[in-house]
């Protein structure tokens, strides 16, 4: 029979191999799901993974979208990965993303219709502060009262969604909107708009921030004492405490960074691609970013690639919805499946699988 044998150190080969294996397995399982839904599986996989990039008809529209969608995913996932590495589970990034967007948009709308260069930078700062403050609630409750940060951060997502609804119906509603919910369109207000930097690339300030975050987090983890402490606290909490790492300080720091980055993603989204605060402006990037963080194996470079791949499934999913009538929920299930396969094949990097034909002798 098969026997699992713990490896002394995780396998280097499988650390890089498992994400690819998981993607392949998800494609196979996804094909089965698409076939069950009565779609041609090969056509569906091609529409999701190939057409957005290389089909002449769609690529012109889809390619820029890749960066637009990957930007917030990478930005949020980078922040989450630091916490996950240290064993701090911030799963409420969606809420921090919403609060960042509300704070940022609020500052921008307060200046309307003034035209000044400092409005957009102020909005960015406010957005980061909004996400940070929202993340401080679970962080401080954890350090002061040892409350479980998983539950608190998640429950705060529902609170944030209600605040969002209240804002788009009340305080931030467009006074010239004819009573419809939703704020003024920020992308039409030049001083507050997050425009595309190079036409036709999808590159906006959020994507720039995502790239900076990737580089900064790489340096932090590889070259900085704090990065070492984060890794140590995750792998050996007791050893970390003996080495003088304060667990409370790490909780606050990791939550602050992930909250601020999620808030940034929110403000860049609301002032750019989304354009306005509305009841359903959030599309679940905060939750998908959890998958991105794991798919990238909590490694900055990995997260960059994983974010692009996940953005591709979003765009491909929309295309498949349009071309093949594939339901939008199918792509959500597909993304969830990817996380399952990732977690399952992770076994290979921590354990050896031995085939025991002669179990007695082997003992």
């Amino acid at each position: 029979m098969f026997i699992l044998e713990k490896r002394p150190t995780p396998s280097k080969f499988w650390a890089w191999g498992t994400p690819f294996l998981a993607v392949v397995l998800t494609m196979i399982a996804g094909s089965i799901m698409f076939a069950v839904l009565g779609k041609n599986p090969f056509e569906a996989i091609r529409t999701i993974f190939w057409d957005p990039l290389f089909n002449e008809q769609f690529a012109a529209y889809s390619r820029p979208q890749l960066l637009v969608k990957a930007g917030p995913l990478i930005l949020i996932a980078i922040g989450l990965s630091l916490g996950f590495r240290a064993g701090i589970w911030n799963i409420g990034a969606e809420g921090q993303y919403i609060m960042g967007a509300i704070f940022g948009a609020g500052v921008g709308l307060a200046f309307y219709p003034l035209d000044a260069f400092y409005i957009f930078p102020l909005m960015v700062i406010a957005g980061a502060a909004g996400g940070l403050l929202w993340a401080m609630i679970p962080a401080i409750l954890k350090t002061r009262f040892s409350t479980n940060e998983i539950l608190v951060s998640l429950l705060l997502v529902y609170v944030a969604e209600n605040i969002l609804a209240s804002m788009s119906l009340g305080l931030l509603r467009n006074p010239e909107g004819g009573g419809f919910p939703g704020s003024r369109n920020l992308s039409q207000y030049d001083a507050a708009a997050n425009h595309e930097l190079f036409a036709g690339t999808g590159m906006h300030w959020g994507v720039v921030a995502a790239f900076i975050a990737v580089i900064a987090s790489y340096i932090l983890l590889q070259r900085h004492m704090l990065g070492f402490q984060i890794k140590l606290a995750g792998q050996a909490p007791r050893a970390a405490r003996f080495a003088g790492v304060s667990p409370n300080k790490l909780v606050v720091l990791c939550m602050a960074i992930s909250g601020a980055l999620a808030g940034l993603a929110g403000v860049f989204e609301v002032s750019g691609p989304a354009g306005q605060i509305s009841i359903d402006f959030n599309v679940g990037y905060g939750f998908t970013a959890i998958i991105v963080a794991f798919l990238g194996r909590l490694n900055p470079i990995g997260i960059l690639l994983a974010g692009l791949l996940m953005a591709l499934t979003y765009i491909g999913g929309e295309l498949a919805q349009f071309m093949l009538g594939l339901p939008s929920a199918a792509i959500q299930a597909f993304q969830g499946m990817l996380l399952f396969f990732l977690l399952a094949v992770d076994l290979l990097s921590n354990y050896r699988i031995r085939l025991m034909l002669f179990a007695k002798e082997a003992r």
């Binding site: 409350t147 539950l151 609170v159 998958i291 929920a329 299930a333």
Partner: protein, 313 residues
Amino acid sequence: MDFYGINPSVLIASLMAASVPIMLAAIGELVVEKSGVLNLGVEGMMIMGAICGFITAVETGSPFLGFLGGALGASVLSLIFVLLTQVFLANQVATGLALTLFGLGLSSLVGQGYVGIKPPATGAIPFGPLADIPFFGRVLFRHDWMVYASIAIIAGVWAVLKFTRAGLILRAVGESHDAAHALGYKVIRIRVMAIVFGGAMAGLGGAYVSLVRVPQWTDGITAGAGWIALAIVVFASWRPWRVLVGAYLFGGITVLQLNLQASNEFPIKIPVEYLAMSPYLITILVLVIMSSGRGRASLNAPASLGQNFHASH
């Protein structure tokens, strides 16, 4: 005897019904956590139970089969959690999250053709003259059978954990899986059974949402009830009867805020959104109180909670 247009007996009666979904999901999760497993996928299992139960009930016309279908659908989903955490030894926190994300997607995929349909009604049990007793008739004797069944399940779990050998073994596995293994108990097998039971209970709770509470199918119908159920397990310090208290408390807040939304006579007008967020805020507040100071709930947590078991010899 009304307060601002809210009748107390109606309020109590409806809070008993409103608390059924979280009560069922929480008592299931309590058994899972007692066996030393942390399954954060309650929300995903609940919503799968909601849609599977809904489809079964609509197709067969029988609410009873609907509840059965809901329990079955959610326990099938919990088998994925079993496979990943008990066989592939994956991280329980991450797997639970994956279960929730996957469940939300799959349920809305499966439920596409069922939006806007009314399920067969789950009627109240006819208690005859008992139902006409003033106040108590309204509060106690006009419910559907699931309200009574959920209380019976709590009593059952309490009795099994406290008085039976099976309950003792389950607790032993949760407190120290190594010791339980050394005594010859099948740690993995016991945990698998606990997880599947937790899945079935979450499914029943979810089915109650889509068949009785709402009763309709919409995407994301459980709206965080699974997460509140997880919080109630902490609130209850892993004790079955306190799950009942916790569920009634949160059911009460939910019903009260819904009544305040509808009431025109209440003197202070609170915006709907702030009322709607109150159950989540109060859950957080209660979590803080329960996990701090002398009454630390975490002291009561099963010692092996969240740790995977791998028999090395």
